[in-house]
Subunit: 285 residues, 2 copies
């Protein structure tokens, strides 16, 4: 069958696959100084934001991504007080991070303020904590922000970026990881979205581990989770630990987390780093 014009389709060129959502109407279309943002109302996935034709998030399934970008790395740090989010302009990761009472400050640095303003309008539930006094929303170059930050001034860095093409390319590189390492304090953790295990193990996940370790991180670990609206429906986050094993978990806090989630829980925390056999082999030295 073919899909008529009432569908949004994202093609994944390198995999010869495509994912489509049935849409009711386009709500917004804007070329910012950085990228082309479109918002659609879909039939069954709520609202959809795309950037340069790629799905960023939908109302229906963003919960998995945002929970898995924030809670695993935060419960893997012994005392996460100072958090930085690079990218993350839709504020979904920010909302999850702010659910942790032990977090004292979160700086979010996205290059494009329009992503945040449109998220406030079309994904208001993700922005419900933006006025939290612990949160600081900055709009600028995240790579530069990390370069300029004080050594040892951050506990957890979360890189919630677009794919490693265009403005986000520098976030997947050795020099950026070296800056992150310098900015992180003792026990510091870096968590970064790392694309699809099925499509990007050799092109992105394995090189990311190599670059993080070459930059000086002691340990690295890739978590995986379902994400229907991203290519292959299967996604990862990779965590790099400055000076401790990345498998640490604040068990009691995690088992008694004082907030609600839709995907994450302590069983998922323990499970999400179980490495599929092909990925385990690909990450062997």
């Amino acid at each position: 069958m073919t899909l008529d014009q009432n569908w949004f389709t994202e093609r994944c060129k390198e995999a010869g696959s495509a994912f489509s959502l049935q849409i009711k109407r386009k709500l917004h279309d804007e070329q910012t100084p950085f990228q082309h943002i479109e918002i659609y109302e879909t039939e069954k996935f709520g609202n959809l934001m795309t950037i340069d034709g790629f799905v960023m998030l939908t109302t229906r399934d963003n919960f998995v991504y945002h929970e898995m970008m924030s809670h695993p790395v935060l419960y893997s740090h012994p005392r996460p007080r100072r958090v930085v989010i690079i990218g993350g302009g839709d504020c979904g990761t920010l909302r999850e991070v702010l659910k942790h009472p032990e977090v004292e400050s979160v700086v979010q640095v996205d290059i494009d303020e329009r992503v945040t303003r449109l998220s406030e309008q079309y994904f208001p539930e993700l922005c419900e904590s933006n006025a939290d006094p612990r949160a600081e929303l900055r709009f600028g170059d995240g790579i530069q922000w990390v370069k300029d930050a004080e050594p040892g001034s951050v506990d957890v860095i979360i890189v919630d970026s677009t794919d490693p093409i265009g403005p986000a390319e520098g976030l997947f590189s050795g020099p950026f990881y070296k800056d992150c390492l310098r900015v992180l304090g003792s026990d510091g953790l870096l968590g970064q979205q790392s694309e699809s295990p099925l499509y990007h193990t050799q092109s992105i996940i394995r090189p990311m581990h190599d670059e993080m370790r070459k930059a000086g991180f002691l340990d690295t670990l890739t978590l995986h989770f379902p994400q229907a609206s991203y290519p292959s429906g299967w996604w990862t986050a990779t965590i790099a630990a400055k000076d401790m094993p990345v498998t640490f978990l604040r068990e009691e806090a995690c088992e008694n987390k004082p907030f609600a989630t839709q995907y994450y829980n302590d069983a998922i925390h323990r499970a999400c780093a179980a490495t599929p056999e092909f990925l385990r082999r690909a990450l062997l030295d």
Copy 2:
């Protein structure tokens, strides 16, 4: 963007989503007495078999499904000697089951012999164990086969069927589960594909648990795994245990399995039943 005629698209009506694969050419097209089978050569996913327009399997990603339909349930049984596969005509699950030296006999009952003959031609790697003397390939009604089987004559039943519409509908029902329970011996396990957690928790997964327990199974558990070419890219199998907890695992055998896999391993076994929060809540009584 729209996709031209060089793409196969499967639309998931209830979710307003679609998945597409870029194709080189159609290799086969056949209406059998039971269903419409098509085989395509894709650009990046190897060969693709569809039945009535729905993706059955691709060369590239079937390994996850077939491994997760077989190894978890087999390592959860203390001594799986006699196995029955209902459906499974492509023989991929059969191949995985036959990797277990402790299995003494496998009967596969698919209603449509043409699925198997076409799999032999276009997915020969899945059929490489079909001549194993422990395997018996039958073509007929799996529901009737279970109805006619001797009580206590089977250790593990695997239901590797199409969606619960058309010929497979009866495989998702109380009377079938009652027959399975009768046919299973002590410690017997039933494992069945149970669709997408994101799309079918309320319509299929929860009712399946209820029907299995009403039929007399002591315990039930849903496993989840990525499956790029199925709707939402996220799939499940649900295991029902006749008379023991379904969380049993032959740890030493699993950790030292004498065969290679691409997705499954002992870490994945322990992880795949970690229940996402929304699914855990949906399955609460």
